[in-house]
């Protein structure tokens, strides 16, 4: 038997890694990093939020006149932990990975881009759980707020975590230089801090528009509403829906940014 082909017969390809198992593997590996190197920074995230609440306790009282402001301060400080870790630290992580050529490792494995981005983002969102919980509980004690509905954090953390980690990952992967990624992450967190923690009632109109553009705002508002005796669940749901939508868009954007960064370095 003779064959007329002049080219090399293509050799069988090894299978691709499936989306979900690969995502789980990335998530597990990223989570393990918390034990090794993320712990100090996680402490910083919590201490920063606790410090802000203690400071704000000096100007915001526990009386009926200040209830609204107290809710905003506690909700803002709690979500700030998410912004610090999921947005700021994740932007820095991907910025460093891209600048140092670390993305090559993933780019030469048959793994879907979404697995790498979503697995990493999910891990960073998970890092924020203990800190957010601790901040919210301490805040409730400090400002004498009801913690009956604190279970809402089970939705606020993953949804605002998705939105903010998506933005963080996109910043880290799109920035041309590592310094730019760090800068974007810091700016995002500063915005979340200033616009999230301070009660919006006293803000000028223009600043309130900027606040509305920030994805963390909707997590803050959702949490703040649940401190009420009778929360407006429709508004809470709407806020969380915005977080979810921003999460889908920003994670899709960061997956695209990952593909671009992995193949164009």
């Amino acid at each position: 038997m003779t064959t007329a082909t002049t080219a090399v017969r293509p050799t069988g390809l090894a299978p691709r890694a499936e989306l979900l198992p690969a995502l789980a593997a990335v998530y597990r590996a990223q989570l393990s990093r918390a034990r090794v190197s993320r712990i100090p920074l996680l402490f910083v995230a919590v201490f920063q939020s606790l410090g802000i609440m203690v400071m704000m306790r000096g100007v915001v009282g526990t009386g009926p006149a200040d209830t609204g402001a107290a809710r905003d301060v506690v909700a803002g400080s709690s979500v700030l932990v998410v912004a610090f870790v999921a947005l700021n630290l994740l932007a820095q992580y991907f910025g460093r990975l891209r600048a140092s050529g670390g993305l090559d490792h993933y780019a030469t494995l048959p793994v879907p881009a979404a697995s790498v981005v979503l697995g990493t983002a999910a891990a960073y969102a998970s890092f924020t759980v203990p800190g957010t919980l601790l901040t919210a509980v301490v805040g409730c004690v400090l400002f004498q707020l009801s913690w009956v509905h604190l279970w809402i954090l089970l939705l606020v953390v993953p949804l605002s975590g998705a939105a903010l980690s998506g933005v963080g990952a996109a910043c880290g992967l799109l920035a041309d230089r590592q310094e730019i990624a760090t800068l974007l992450g810091q700016l995002g967190m500063s915005a979340a801090l200033l616009l999230g923690v301070l009660p919006p009632g006293h803000m000028p109109e223009a600043v309130r528009w900027v606040r509305d553009l920030l994805p963390s705002t909707y997590g803050v508002d959702a949490l703040a509403r649940t401190f009420a005796g009778r929360p407006d669940w429709a508004a809470v749901t709407a806020d969380l829906a915005v977080c979810a939508a921003v999460g889908v868009i920003s994670l899709a954007l960061s997956t695209w940014a990952y593909r671009r960064a992995a193949t164009r370095s």
Binding site: V8, T11, A17, A22, A29, G102, A107, T108, V111
Partner: protein
């Protein structure tokens, strides 16, 4: 029955006229660097093929195109019959790549780094654990399994990264300076692991190196790369034959060479000087004569050390012109 074109089936990797330019700097300082200026290569199945050359020669740019990480400006890359320029995403299903950076793994334990890489290479969780255990045993990495990669010494970290390249067996391994910083025991573990895979599964290896001694001992064939071009490609023995059996005489002077002596003055013109070290290429008879003269005469007092050696790949590289000054005969 063998097909009439069976010869071409021997190829693992076929590169034709590969061109890749970089732009560096901005504005008036902008200039174009020809990282690869028309490279053609054939790597046969089951061989250990080396890319040898100085830093900045274009070796890493070449392997980044082979692995689908970088798109060439023009030219073609075929790996095991697949067009990698048109379908760079297929590369990861054909080959394992060990790059120079380990930042993606630095904060993981050795064990988890290997297992995760195996999972991402498409293995199921039980398979991945089994592959991890096997490779950690094979490379004698078990004592380090629970240590964090980033906290290991350079050589140990490199070995752990090499372990990640082995899991999820691929028919082609592309290794960019795999043994940098390794002690001799680790080096031996690397080359034994490569040899086992070659014997058992016909695995092909493309190795980037600038370690001449390693190149001579492990490579079947070697391409010498300089300034983005392949300036020679042959077996290490074949390349060394280019130096016509000349030997190399190295003279190291204690202080200033005694140029007043006629013998030293006559050598001065033909030696390549590097600080106090002079290197002269000569045929073996002449070299023996020179050694006798230098070591028995007054020049000996000024001599710190001398050596006579058979040609190495380094001599070949220098003879071929390279970027550096060739050794004058």
């Amino acid at each position: 029955m063998r097909s009439e074109n069976a010869g071409t089936d021997d190829h693992c990797c076929r590169v034709r006229d590969l061109v890749k330019d970089y732009r560096t700097g901005r504005g008036a300082k902008a200039r174009t660097v020809h990282a690869n200026a028309g490279i053609s290569l054939d790597v046969r199945r089951g061989e250990v093929f080396g890319l040898l050359g100085p830093n900045g020669a274009g070796k890493s740019t070449l392997v980044r195109q082979l692995t689908g990480l970088l798109r060439p400006d023009s030219g073609s890359v075929e790996v095991l019959g697949h067009d990698i320029v048109r379908h760079p995403e297929l590369a990861s299903r054909l080959l394992a790549y060990l790059g120079q950076e380990s930042t993606a793994l630095d904060e993981l334990t050795v064990s988890l780094a290997v297992e995760t890489t195996a999972r991402l290479r498409g293995l199921g969780s039980a398979q991945a654990r089994a592959a991890r255990d096997a490779v950690l045993t094979e490379l004698d990495l078990e004592p380090l399994a629970r240590r964090t990669l980033g906290k290991l010494s350079g050589g140990q970290r490199r070995l752990a990264c090499f372990a990640t390249a082995l899991v999820g067996e691929r028919p082609l391994l592309v290794l960019d300076e795999p043994t940098t910083g390794m002690d001799p025991v680790a080096r031996r573990a690397v080359w034994s692991a490569v040899e086992r895979r070659r014997a058992a599964a016909g695995v092909t290896v493309i190795l980037v190196t600038h370690n001449v001694i390693e190149a001579e001992t492990v490579l079947d064939r070697v391409a010498v790369v300089d300034e983005g071009r392949v300036i020679a490609c042959d077996t290490p023995g074949g390349l060394k034959a280019l130096v016509d059996g000349d030997v190399r005489l190295d003279l190291v002077w204690r202080e200033e060479p005694p140029l007043g002596l006629p013998l030293v003055a006559s050598l001065a013109g033909r030696a390549v000087r590097s600080g106090r070290r002079w290197t002269v290429r000569a045929d073996p008879d002449e070299a023996r004569e020179l050694v006798a003269q230098v070591t028995s005469g007054p020049a000996f007092a000024a001599l710190d050390d001398f050596s006579l050696s058979t040609p190495s790949l380094e001599d070949v590289y220098l003879l071929l012109g390279g970027r550096h000054e060739g050794l004058a005969k």
